[in-house]
């Protein structure tokens, strides 16, 4: 995997990465490349958002957790996805937990740098709006899957038909 976004071969296939040359050069300047082993928690729900993680290589499990520690996998993020985007933009807390499944390479951008970058490049900001819309569509699909499956089982025990594995509920 290339160290610089400028000579990354995968760039054109990836929605966020396919930036105009000027924006790409600037993005390359604010990102830091990191490699993390399997099992690393990149960000945890409830934690103040520090920035975004652009997934270059590997997979990340996105999950939510209840107060009692039960965990539900929402989905697997794949290369090209931008993680922690909505929390970084709103300045709030990460809504989900991101845990490395295979060794990953991520390009990290601090919140402050991201906001400055987006203010400079309106086209990228539009791209971000598109990505957030996609995230939201996915989230509504999960609400539909979880919520409407349960309304048929008003006793509220277990999520029938979604596969129940030990302490984790795996959807899909």
């Amino acid at each position: 995997m290339s160290q610089s976004c400028l000579d990354c071969a995968q760039r054109s296939d990836r929605i966020f990465c396919d930036l105009e040359p000027e924006a790409l050069e600037e993005f390359d300047g604010i990102k830091t490349l990191e490699t993390y082993p399997r099992g690393t928690v990149l960000f945890r729900e409830g934690q103040t958002a520090r920035g975004i993680f652009l997934l270059c290589e590997g997979r990340v499990r996105l999950s939510v957790c209840s107060e009692s520690g039960r965990r539900m996998t929402l989905r697997m993020a794949t290369p090209g996805e931008v993680l922690g985007l909505s929390a970084a933009l709103s300045g709030g807390l990460y809504e989900v937990t991101g845990e490395v499944v295979d060794q990953v390479q991520v390009a990290e951008v601090r919140r402050k740098d991201l906001l400055h970058f987006l203010h400079q490049h309106c086209d990228v900001c539009l791209q971000v709006v598109n990505l957030l819309s996609e995230d939201l569509h996915e989230a509504y699909d999960r609400v539909r899957a979880v919520g409407l499956a349960r309304t048929r089982h008003t006793n509220g025990h277990g999520v029938h038909g979604h596969g129940f594995h030990g302490h984790g509920l795996h959807l899909r």
Partner: protein, 240 residues
Amino acid sequence: MLSPYGLDIIESCLTCKMRAERLFCDLPTSALQSFESIKYATAYPKGAVLFVEGQAPRGIFVLCKGRVKLSICASDGKTLILKIAEPGEVLGLSAAVSGKAYELTAETIDPCQVNFVKRDDFLRFLKEHSEACFKVAEQLSEKYNVACHEVRSLGLSHSAAEKLAKLLIEWSSRNGESMKQEPRLKLALTHEEIAQMIGTSRETVTRLFADLKKRQILQAKGSTLVIRNKAALRSLATTG
């Protein structure tokens, strides 16, 4: 001025007094003027459907006055209320941006004023005004947060009692009552609608309310609920 459904219609965004308090509406003058030229101010009675889940997106709806129920529906007709939208919220946003079908159904629960913007006009507006684009990103982030919260609550709660307790605590924290010894909250929804918010039946909600009242955790004064025992309600919310 004409006032359909008893609403005092805000004709112009430029002179709207509420603008500064609302996340999306507080735009710089140039963007606001441009928005003003593409929006249609419309009034709806209670019970009007703004858009239906699965419909191709026509545009966005900025809620100026009144409240709107946002729900999703299963093929067997079961309904789940995701949220009651309040003034200042932009509805139909992600569908209009992505061009995918509306994910939710939006139905007014009060007489409402809604400013509608056609999809093409809105996308052009976003391209020309980066500040508006930022505000849209913020609104989408907020909606994402609500959706994740809903997934967590529906997917990981053990019982209907736990979900109802969580909902009541959330409502009481919204109007600044949570610091009080005995927080009060106005019950704006029917038992049926509350059941649709927490994914259970109307009968279960009625039974749970009766039980909470019997245990002196809640007390009803007309349509106002008083939380008599905060600690007990909290413990229900965490353990079911």
